[in-house]
């Protein structure tokens, strides 16, 4: 009887592991759904913005258009 109880508890453990795996599994209907999920997980390295800021410092400042100068008066 004890043996039977142990077996049942092992089964329960396996079942619980399987259920846990089921919960952590993700399903994507299409590759683009998977890629959308992946895109959300990817973060843009902050170094790019820092490099851009440095690069823009050496760029000539764009000339303001006549209508913008007019509106800013």
């Amino acid at each position: 009887m004890k043996r039977q109880t142990k077996h049942t508890s092992q089964e329960q453990e396996q079942l619980s592991q399987m259920q846990s795996q089921e919960r952590s599994a993700l399903e994507f209907a299409t590759p683009e759904d998977l890629l959308r999920h992946d895109a959300k997980e990817v973060s843009v390295p902050p170094e790019i913005a820092e490099r851009l800021a440095r690069s823009l410092q050496s760029e000539p400042r764009p000339a303001r258009s006549w209508w913008r100068r007019f509106l800013d008066r």
Partner: protein
């Protein structure tokens, strides 16, 4: 410089809005809004985080310099992607010529039997990015690009067709085959 997609073919002669130089604050907003999309496309198209970082920097610098050439006849996202794709394509072309890499033959995937409609099941999220990259690396440039573009919900089939210079029907047909190729390859990377 060789280009994958034509910048002139979608830019009409008559501008649809005033050509305005980009102010730094506007550029910052543009970067905030679109940098993730540009970086992600570069990352998965090139398959190298450092090269994607360089490419994203170069693309946005080009955008800053050439913004007065944006005429507004396509969406800003489409215009940004056009610059990104051409930049990445040129990089890939130069590696291919240097390293004599063979191109992927998509017909191998097209003849293989695969349940196209079955979902892609993922158990281990930890290395999912690497698995996706390995899968994309095994596809042709065209299939990889089409899948990455259609994954952006801001992009319509018509815009993808315009970017890749083909009809929307051709895009749909190729996407069907690209999905199948991706699913097969993805299963093999498990």
């Amino acid at each position: 410089m060789e280009t994958l997609v034509s910048e002139s073919s979608v830019q009409p002669e008559r501008p649809l809005r005033p050509r305005v130089p980009l102010e730094p604050a506007e550029f910052a907003r543009l970067y905030e809004e679109h940098s993730r999309a540009v970086y992600y496309l570069a990352l998965r198209y090139l398959g190298d985080p450092q090269k994607a970082e360089d490419a994203t920097h170069d693309v946005f610098l080009k955008v800053y310099r050439k913004f007065n050439e944006f005429r507004g006849d396509s969406s800003l996202r489409t215009w940004l992607y056009r610059i990104t794709i051409n930049h990445c394509h040129n990089l890939r072309q130069s590696w291919h010529s240097r390293n004599l890499l063979t191109t992927t033959d998509d017909s191998l995937w097209e003849t293989a039997a695969a349940p196209v409609d079955s979902p892609l099941r993922v158990l281990e999220l930890k290395e999912l990015g690497e698995r996706i990259q390995r899968t994309l690396d095994g596809l042709s440039d065209e299939y990889r690009l089409l899948l990455l573009l259609v994954a952006d919900e801001e992009m319509s089939y018509e815009e993808i067709a315009e970017l890749t210079q083909q009809t929307a029907d051709a895009v749909r047909g190729k996407l069907h085959r690209a999905r199948k190729a991706f699913a097969l390859r993805f299963q093999q990377t498990a």
